[in-house]
């Protein structure tokens, strides 16, 4: 069953938390709602769950409009950030509560709970109370409570954010495996782009209640639709430089005295723009190469910080008065602070954005 959102909005008083979001999620897809905190992604998830009323717009499950359906009647399961396990029930009752409420016979509940416990490897914990469990175990119980009812849609609200870093990585892989095994449509909320990139079939990037881009992780990374997505996805973030377009000696962007030739792929778009138009050039730190031969380069920078992060080095550069860049280079390359280096952009990896609308300039 497909999940479709049509022009969904939510206001709390004068605050517009979600604005006109259209989203179509296919059956079995793992979709992540990604955005900075307070961007409205959790509100959107809660509206899909039925915990929050939709101010305007429609939510469809298949062909069925569910705007006014109670959460319990939507056949969805939700995993909360703080797990929300019932503290006075033991693990077995926690997992089986949804079945009990729906009037399943006792033997059936017991069988299903055991089965889910076996899948999640928590069979030994069924008699324990939530407070006797570790964070990872609680996480599994919360997951079990969602799985046991075999809903058509899983909703997950930052389920990994309360775990320590190491456990988060292993739970991430485990969640992905569960999804591959159960094949249930999943909507997953996170502010962690790594989770979004590794787990999702599709990512919906949201900012200020507005859907910025909805496509595959590769697409979001390689072809960001606007400045926000470009700056938000990728670690370290993409460099965004303000330049002026010139058509002298072929299309190029000028940053003060420096000049960057634009790759042929961008020519059809920039040729329509007038001389002197201001543009934003985006380039990921990974797509910048540095050389010690500063003289032959068309962009020259001065190193002011070098950070070693394992196999890479992050180099902060100042190019001229007001241009700051970050480049990611191999750890073996040695640069010292205050050294002057030549800066080379990988031309096929240059992104161009319109500074007024922030939208990517493509044909």
């Amino acid at each position: 069953m497909e999940v479709s959102l049509e022009k969904v909005s939510k206001s709390f008083g004068s605050l517009e938390a979600v604005k006109d979001i259209d989203l179509s999620i296919r059956e079995r897809e793992f979709v992540t709602l990604l955005g900075p905190s307070g961007c409205g992604k959790t509100t959107l998830l809660r509206m899909i769950a039925g915990l929050e009323k939709v101010t305007s717009g429609s939510i469809y499950f298949g062909d069925k409009l569910v705007n006014n359906l109670r959460p319990g009647d939507r056949d969805v399961a939700m995993v909360f950030q703080n797990y929300a396990l019932y503290p006075h029930f033991n693990v077995a009752r926690n997992i089986g509560y949804g079945l009990k409420v729906r009037g399943a016979p006792k033997s059936e509940i017991e069988r299903r709970v055991r089965e889910v416990a076996r899948i999640l490897e928590i069979e030994g914990l069924l008699e324990r109370k939530p407070r006797q469990l570790s964070g990872g175990q609680r996480q599994r119980v919360a997951l079990g409570r969602a799985i046991v009812r075999d809903p058509f849609l899983f909703l997950m609200d930052e389920p990994l954010s309360n775990l320590d870093a190491k456990l988060r990585v292993s739970m991430r892989a485990e969640l992905k495996r569960f999804h591959m095994r159960l094949n249930t449509t999943t909507i997953y909320v996170t502010h962690d782009q790594l989770e979004a990139m590794t787990m999702s079939d599709k990512i919906a990037v949201i900012n200020d209640g507005v859907l910025q881009q909805f496509s595959t992780p590769q697409e979001v990374y390689n072809r960001p639709t606007n400045v926000f997505v470009a700056g938000f996805i990728g670690n370290p973030p993409m460099n965004l430089l303000n330049g002026t377009l010139t058509h002298e000696n072929g299309p190029a962007l000028k940053f003060g005295p420096a000049r960057q030739t634009l790759p042929p792929a961008t020519h059809p778009i920039v040729s329509k723009c007038p001389e002197g138009k201001r543009l934003i050039l985006g380039i990921r730190p990974q797509d910048i190469s540095l050389s010690e031969a500063a003289a032959s380069a068309n962009l020259v920078g001065k190193v002011w910080l070098v950070e070693l992060v394992g196999s890479e080095k992050l180099v902060d550069l100042a190019c001229g008065e007001d241009i700051q860049l970050m480049a990611e280079v191999k750890a073996e390359q040695n640069f010292s602070v205050d050294q002057t280096v030549g800066v080379q952009f990988n031309p096929s990896r240059i992104h161009l954005f319109d500074p007024e609308s922030g939208i990517a300039m493509r044909d």
Partner: protein
């Protein structure tokens, strides 16, 4: 070496002084209780014995018997004549009245305050932020200010000299604080638990009964205890609202043992013990919850 000995000695002295002080304070606090217990177990003849005895020389349930069966004050052996100068004993009726009123007002207060506090913490409407503080303000006014207006209300309602007047009167003083206590308590219960249960398919009412109430139990117990103490120990409202001897609760009723210039200390002390017992027993059973409840309210409120 001598240092260690000295510190050891110092420790012993300190402990001795500490425990002696504690014992003394405990004794001072318990003395009135012990004294009333001891007096209630003495036969009338020993009550005024000089020197007074803390431990009765002769144990007797005479006072309790009189309390329950009634006592003929000027009974003259050998005659059937029982003058009406002595009031008949209404102790059992008073006890029942106190129990009914306490139970009634506590149930009403706890039910209303729990529902009201739940609504205040979980639903959005105008005033839900300041009502709890406002209600606490009401509780801070002395009840003597309320009692006469309330009496006039009871007259209008035709409830004077009726136990309902006491039930409603006590609810009016306990409800604000109970509601504030429950409000503070509910705020500490994560709303996600209820949302999880809603998604699990439970109705609002079922969520309230199966998920919220069990978690709020310490708060409910604390609120109930508070309400019971206030209702059971009240004197003012009962003195003003009730005027027939059969309808009195214990607190005002036992004042009848001041028989003019003569105070019947035996009956007085026996009723004091009887009045203290139910609440003391209750405390012992649920004091653990009481501490948890007040603690939670204090920290999260």
């Amino acid at each position: 070496m001598s240092n260690i000995l000295q510190s050891d000695l110092f420790g012993k002295v300190r402990a001795t002084v500490l425990y002696a002080t504690l014992l003394l304070v405990t004794f001072l606090i318990c003395f009135p209780l012990l004294w009333s217990l001891s007096t209630s177990l003495k036969p009338t003849t020993e009550i005024f014995a000089t020197p007074p005895t803390l431990v009765p020389e002769e144990y007797s349930l005479e006072q309790y018997k009189s309390l329950i069966q009634g006592k003929d004050m000027y009974f003259v052996p050998g005659t059937k004549y029982r003058p009406k100068t002595s009031p008949p004993q209404h102790f059992l009726a008073w006890f029942a009245n106190s129990t009914i009123v306490t139970f009634g007002s506590t149930v009403i207060s706890v039910v209303i305050s729990t529902l009201a506090a739940y609504s205040l913490t979980r639903f959005r409407y105008w005033g839900r932020r300041f009502i709890p503080y406002f209600s606490l303000l009401g509780y801070m006014l002395p009840s003597i200010i309320f009692v006469f207006p309330l009496f006039l209300v009871m007259v209008e309602l035709g409830l004077t000299n009726n136990l309902w007047s006491l039930v409603l009167g006590y609810v009016s003083i306990t409800l604000p604080f109970c509601m504030w206590l429950m409000w503070a308590f509910f705020r500490g219960i994560p709303v996600e638990l209820e949302e999880a249960a809603l998604i699990d398919g439970a109705s609002r009412l079922r969520v309230f009964i199966e998920i919220v109430l069990p978690m709020a139990m310490p708060g409910i117990i604390a609120a109930a205890i508070f309400s019971m103490i206030v209702s059971w120990n009240d004197y003012l409202f009962a003195r003003i609202f009730i005027n027939s001897i059969q309808q009195l609760p214990l607190t005002v009723g036992v004042m009848h043992f001041f028989e003019g210039v003569h105070v019947n200390w035996g009956l007085m002390m026996a009723s004091a013990v009887m009045m203290t017992l139910p609440l003391a027993a209750l405390f012992m059973v649920i004091q653990r919850h009481l501490v948890a409840g007040f603690g939670a309210g204090a920290v999260k409120g």
